[in-house]
């Protein structure tokens, strides 16, 4: 028990001394770890948001809203509804009045209802929400309804054929670019931690010489440097985790107020996973860096 405690105490106090003895190098390595983890955390959260959007768009994809001109009487709208329902490609049609459209609009998150009230009149059109059986027929139906005089001209429908493809492409590009960035930064941070450990070993060369002389085991000599690497990884990770942990919700809220129609949501469960991954990755960077720093220099 005493021996174990002595070993731990020696490793931690030496590591802590090492950390501050070459403070400039240590802080540089903490910073680079911090940057890597910030990039990693942000990327994971952005990709997750894009995933959320894609998933939501996919459920909406088999429906379009056909906007009706304000001049269209309700009876014509109902006739048009029946006409569309008789189409074999259509599975259902729902009429949404101007008031219902406004009610839906008010329910959008991050929208200040008092702003809407200042408008006075309701600018939203009534619509027929058409759901098709096969998503591939959506384009043809969109073309047909546009010819009807009942339909509003600006815009006629909310049909956007490429929106999902665009989001998937964006997610893929962001994912690859982020991955390349993170791999590069990971290599850089491992390299800098390795240099930090080598500097620490150099500063302790006399002590190491005496330790070996009086019969310290290899692992006793190594532990302080591994602990130092772990401290670097941990400090960098904790700072990054705090920033991402506290910054994620405000970032989502702010983005929602800018991108009103984009369904962003705060996901506390996923956030916890990301923070744990960041912490683990930070410790991994620290241990790999110190392992590489020790490998060549403590052999005999």
């Amino acid at each position: 028990m005493h021996r174990l405690w002595n070993r731990i105490d020696f490793a931690f106090s030496s590591a802590w001394q090492n950390f501050w003895r070459n403070a400039a190098v240590s802080i540089a390595s903490v910073l680079i770890v911090w940057v890597v983890l910030l990039a990693l955390g942000s990327l994971l959260l952005v990709l997750h948001s894009l995933d959320q959007i894609v998933a939501l768009e996919k459920t909406k994809a088999s429906a379009i809203s056909v906007y009706l001109a304000d001049t269209t009487p309700l009876s014509s709208a109902m006739e048009f509804k029946l006409h569309l329902e008789s189409d074999p490609r259509v599975s259902s049609v729902e009429y949404v009045s101007k008031d219902q459209a406004m009610a839906r609009f008010r329910q959008l998150p991050a929208l200040d209802p008092s702003v809407i009230d200042t408008l006075g009149t309701n600018p939203l059109p009534a619509s027929l929400d058409v759901t098709v059986k096969d998503i591939r027929d959506l384009g043809a139906i969109d073309q047909e309804v546009r010819t009807s005089p009942l339909v509003d001209k600006s815009p006629a429908t909310n049909y956007e054929p490429n929106v999902i493809d665009k989001i998937i492409l964006l997610a893929r590009v962001a994912g690859i670019a982020g991955l390349v960035l993170i791999i590069g930064l990971t290599g850089l941070s491992v390299f800098i931690i390795m240099l930090t450990i080598r500097t620490a070993i150099y500063l302790r060369r006399k002590e190491i010489e005496v330790m070996k002389l009086v019969g310290a085991t290899d692992w006793f000599v190594r532990w302080p440097f591994i602990v130092e690497g772990l401290i670097v990884g941990l400090v960098g990770a904790v700072v990054a985790v705090l920033i991402v942990g506290f910054g994620y919700r405000p970032a989502v809220v702010n983005l929602q107020s800018v991108l009103i129609f984009v369904p962003l949501a705060f996901d506390p469960y996923y956030l916890r996973v990301v923070l744990a991954a960041m912490l683990g990755f930070g410790l991994l960077l620290g241990s790999v860096g110190s392992y590489l720093g020790i490998r060549r220099f403590l052999k005999q």
Binding site: H2, R7, F10, V210, L213, V214, A216
Partner: protein
Amino acid sequence: MPATITTQPTRTTLLPAKARVAAVVPAAPQISLQGVQKTYPNGTVALRDVSLEIPKQDFVFLVGPSGAGKSTLVRLLIREEKATAGSIHIEGQDLSRLKRRHLPYLRRKIGMVFQDFKLLPNLTVFQNVAFALRVTEGALRHLKPKVEEVLSIVGLEGKESKYPDQLSGGEQQRVAIARALVHDPRIFLADEPTGNLDPATSWEIIQLLLQINARGTTVLMATHNREIVDVMRRRVVAIEGGQIVRDEDAGGYHAPALESH
């Protein structure tokens, strides 16, 4: 004055049972070199065909000009280097077969001091000695009495909180000796321990080594100090050009042929 030792400290052996039995047999020397050769990677031959046996409790001077191979021999004994050919046994243990992870336990059996002391300047006398125990995972509660014991052996009571640069050369070497004694070594290797010291201080250090030897520790001292070797009349092993050229009990620094016989 250094305190005199009245009791022999009890020792725990780290050797396997078989080797322990071998060490008890009087015929087996504590240190044994058979046909040892050391060639460095650059081709320099530092030792050629060296055979040497040192029994337990011996006191041996290792003499010879610089570059003769004295330091190489010392480095082979603590296995800082491996012999190219031949065999070295310490207490029945074959050093060429010693695994790297067992090396620290060999070093704990051998106390070492050097010409340049190798003290840590940022640690006090007490801490320098305690360091040797801490890094070999000596239990912390036994640390203080042990450090006090070895500091009293070398006569440094009252200087525990001084730093090395506040001490004379002789005192610094005493700290190094105290540090080498914390593991109750069975073998004490001194590589030019008086090389940086004035004659009077050198004699004090020799007295200390004699005392350590009297406690039952084998002492091997590599030296250039002709006066000490000549006065002491102990066993002398002379090395020249990597070979043992003379090995005599109660010898002098130079071969007896040079003196009138």
